[in-house]
């Protein structure tokens, strides 16, 4: 039940990552299965960027299905073909050529909010108090949400390592399954 959502999402992340990710050096990887829904990431994000606790101004949000115990962190994926960049009428959003991060230039932003509506992850939000776009900037290379998440639901890894990481996690599950079927001592017995 819960697993369906999780796998769909994981697949989504993977599909996205498997596109051209050569330019971005490191990627924020989300693992909903490990998320316990504490929202520490939301708090630390707002404390870092806004100097206040304000989940609504956080760049990352945990979306929950309480009855299914599913918690999915939603955050900007810094897409290879970002819809927000394509759709932005003033080029306020652009993909930084150096590191592949999707950045917002606040001086150019006219506040039309098309990016908010178009992002498939809902990862861009509108700060009603200050009238500006809120989106993840990976905290100058040290994402605070990753640092505070000790459960590895959020990881910041090199792009080329991501698939390997996923493979390893998938393989781990498979090996657990194998030991479940054939017993723990299978390999030891040789």
């Amino acid at each position: 039940m819960a697993v369906d959502y999780v796998h769909q999402f994981a697949l989504l992340v993977l599909l996205n990552l498997n596109r051209k990710v050569t330019k971005i050096q490191k990627i924020l990887v989300v693992d909903p299965e490990k998320c316990t829904g504490c929202r520490l990431c939301e708090l630390v994000c707002s404390a870092f960027h806004e100097k206040a606790f304000s989940p609504i101004k956080s760049r990352i949000h945990i979306i929950k299905w309480d009855e299914k115990a599913v918690d999915v962190p939603m955050v900007c994926q810094h897409c290879s073909k970002p819809v927000c960049v394509d759709i932005c009428p003033t080029n306020a959003l652009y993909k930084d050529a150096k590191n592949g991060i999707v950045v917002v230039d606040e001086t150019r932003c006219i506040g039309c909010k098309v990016c908010v509506l178009s992002c498939p992850f809902g990862a861009i939000s509108w700060d009603t108090e200050h009238g500006k776009i809120l989106k993840c900037d990976l905290c100058d290379g040290e994402p605070q949400c990753v640092k505070i998440c000790k459960f590895d639901a959020l990881k910041y890894v090199k792009a080329d390592k991501v698939t390997l990481l996923r493979k390893r996690e998938g393989a781990k599950k498979l090996s657990e399954l194998v030991s479940l079927i054939v017993g723990e001592g299978f390999y030891a017995r040789g």
């Binding site: 708090l43 206040a52 606790f53 000790k150």
Partner: protein, 636 residues
């Protein structure tokens, strides 16, 4: 005056009789002298609630409060407190809970809600930042906790709304009904849900989008990350994440403190069937955290099929022991399901299980017969009966109607010596700590302000012997006696000091996991957190004094209701009958010795157990002295 951070800065006053809503700024001196949470409600309800009122009348006042650290990054800072005069104990009543509701209330801009009067028809309160409204709840009345939250979220079209509500038990005025928030978190004890029900208030739904400011943002993140790291490095944290509080079943069995058969004994032969390991391997879906918590003791469990199938939150240790070993039930799925039903209907699992187990013992002794129960045979360990009784209590059906009054009131109605088997202090059922196996817990139950309660003091330093921590908090001279759970010596001092600190913990909005057990943070850490979050500069001594002030104020509240030393007692079973088996075999609770030490340490009068005039004046509570004297309570 503005606060630099931490506080939301506003109090919300709601009068349900007059349908009036008022917002007032939070007075700075209230914040400075009482911190928040328990401190706020203690002061405000002492002033607002008149002595000797009926707790279920509109005159009772219900207050919800958060602390200055609620909703911040301090480890496990997600708690709120709800308080009123208790319909179960007829004295001070309060209960606290974590989850997400408390922080959401602060993000909506309020530190506290004070509710007076009674609505004519069922209503709920809808708070969306500055917009506050009293709405009709006739469509919600009768629904369980899960349905209520779902429908409120659907009606307002927002999945992030946080709801604190009552279930059918609160509506039917079951005396130990809980306020439930976030579906499976309970502010359970002393019948706060009952008070909500008596006010025709079904729910308080909150959605907030404001900021909580930080007084010192430059130092904040660095310091708080160290706190987080300390919590993570604590050797208790991994097992909390793995088992929640469920593995306490194994631990309590080991020290003979697991309440079994209505606390006749402290060991349960079939404990492994309700143990943390068994539940983790068979029924756990995932640990789920409260807001901003690194310990994640919350459980999400499921029984996939059969008559006890469910998916939902819980259980934790108290539910497992009260509905399991205490009633002699070892059928895991039935215990889990009964716990789930308590959540669904909004009831305190402790009082519910304890009342059922009292009835079972009376049935065994022939005091309650099938004539009283309407044909039910109340046999120890019957899983079907357990589940049936939980439902009957929640809806006050048949024999459940009697049990819904709580064991003390039910025993008075039954008579024939049934009172002797009520495991209560001040009419509230004792929680899952067999006091003969841990003397400090016996004393804590006897002195707690809201009737029998393990959390008011939560003296756990002797549970597994935190010698280092005792040395740090009290001094080396108290070792080894203070660390020995079977030795009554120094327990009076320990319980009094734990009460003071617990009052501070409940006031700032922090969880007792991390502060009391494991004892990672103490006054100096709270003081530092307050400094960087709020801008208050307290010393440890000053904070301790605030805690002491709150405990004395709660005691004064109870003194007005007639509580004296004679009420600070335990059931005869613990004072006279030696524990029959297990590691604590042969032990009784040396209560009087501990009580004397407790009152002396508190500088209270030894004879009547009340604060002295001098003590109250020293704590800046001179007005309280006057109030007590006006109604004829003479202080020494």
């Amino acid at each position: 005056m503005e606060f630099k951070g931490g506080y939301a800065g506003k109090i919300l006053w709601i009068n349900l009789s007059e349908k009036r809503i008022k917002k007032e700024p939070l007075p700075k001196d209230l914040a400075y002298n009482y911190l928040g949470g328990l401190g706020f409600v203690s002061r405000i309800l002492f002033d607002l609630i008149k002595p000797k009122i009926d707790p279920l009348s509109p005159e009772n006042v219900l207050a919800f409060a958060t602390g200055p650290l609620t909703g911040t990054l301090f480890p496990q800072a997600s708690r709120y407190i709800v308080a009123a005069k208790s319909p179960l104990t007829d004295i001070w009543g309060s209960a606290h809970s974590a989850g997400f509701w408390g922080p959401e209330l602060k993000f909506a801009g309020y530190d506290m809600i004070i509710i007076r009067g009674r609505a004519e028809k069922p209503v709920y309160i809808w708070i969306n930042d500055d917009y506050v409204e009293i709405l009709d709840a006739s469509h919600l009345w009768g629904l369980n906790v899960l349905e209520t939250e779902d429908i409120i979220r659907r009606d307002h079209g927002d999945n992030k709304i946080r709801v604190a509500c009552i279930g059918p038990a609160g509506e039917k005025l079951v005396r130990f009904a809980a306020v439930m928030n976030d579906k499976c978190r309970a502010a359970a004890r002393s019948g706060m849900g009952t008070v909500m029900g008596s006010k025709n208030l079904k729910a308080i739904a909150v959605r907030g989008s404001k900021d909580i400011k930080i007084a010192d943002p430059n130092r904040y993140l660095k310091i708080i990350k160290e706190f987080q790291q300390r919590m993570l490095n604590n050797p208790f944290t991994p097992s909390r994440i793995k088992y929640g509080t469920n593995n306490l079943i194994e631990l309590m069995q080991e020290i003979g403190r697991l309440p079994t058969y209505n606390m006749k004994q402290g060991v349960f032969e079939e404990y492994h069937k309700i143990s943390g390991e068994y539940i983790r391997t068979h029924y756990l879906i995932k640990p789920r955290a409260c807001f901003a918590c690194v310990q994640r003791c919350g459980r999400h469990t499921a029984v996939p099929e059969g008559p006890y199938a469910y998916v939902g939150g819980g259980p934790e240790f108290e539910g497992l022991s009260a509905l399991g070993s205490r009633c002699g039930v070892s059928h895991t799925e039935a215990v889990l399901y009964a716990n789930h039903l308590c959540n669904l209907y909004g009831m305190d699992v402790i009082s519910c299980g304890a009342t059922i187990s009292w009835a079972m013992e009376c049935y065994e002794k022939g005091i309650i017969t099938e004539r009283d129960t309407g044909g039910l045979a109340l046999k120890w360990g019957d899983p079907e009966l357990l589940v049936k009784l939980v439902k009957m209590i929640a809806f006050r059906e048949g024999f459940g109607n009697l049990l819904a009054e709580g064991s003390w009131r039910a025993a008075r109605k039954i008579g024939h010596g049934a009172e002797k088997y009520v495991m209560h202090v001040k009419k509230q059922e004792i929680a899952g700590q067999e006091p003969r196996a841990q003397k400090s817990m016996g004393l804590a139950s006897a002195t707690a302000a809201r009737g029998a309660d393990h959390l008011y003091a939560f003296p756990v330093l002797d549970e597994v012997g935190f010698n280092e921590e005792i040395k740090r908090r009290f001094g080396e001279q108290y070792l080894p006696e203070m660390a020995d759970r079977l030795n009554p010596k120094y327990k009076g001092i320990m319980v009094a000091e734990c009460e003071n600190f617990a009052a501070v913990v409940e006031s700032v909005g922090v969880c007792k996991y991390g502060t009391m057990i494991p004892p990672e943070f103490y006054y100096e850490d709270i003081a530092l957190a307050l400094e960087i979050t709020v801008g208050f500069k307290f010393t440890s001594t000053e904070l301790r004094k605030i805690g002491e002030r709150i405990v004395n104020l709660n005691r004064a509240f109870n003194a007005r209701e007639g509580v004296t030393r004679k009420d600070d007692t335990l059931p005869e079973r613990f004072l006279k009958e030696p524990a029959p088996k297990g590691p604590a075999k042969g032990q009784i609770v040396e209560l009087n010795q501990m009580l004397d030490e407790y009152y002396i340490h508190r500088e209270w009068d030894l004879k009547n157990g009340l604060p002295t005039k001098k003590k109250l004046e020293e704590l800046n509570l001179s007005d309280v002295v006057g109030q007590l004297e006006r109604i004829g309570i003479l202080l020494q």
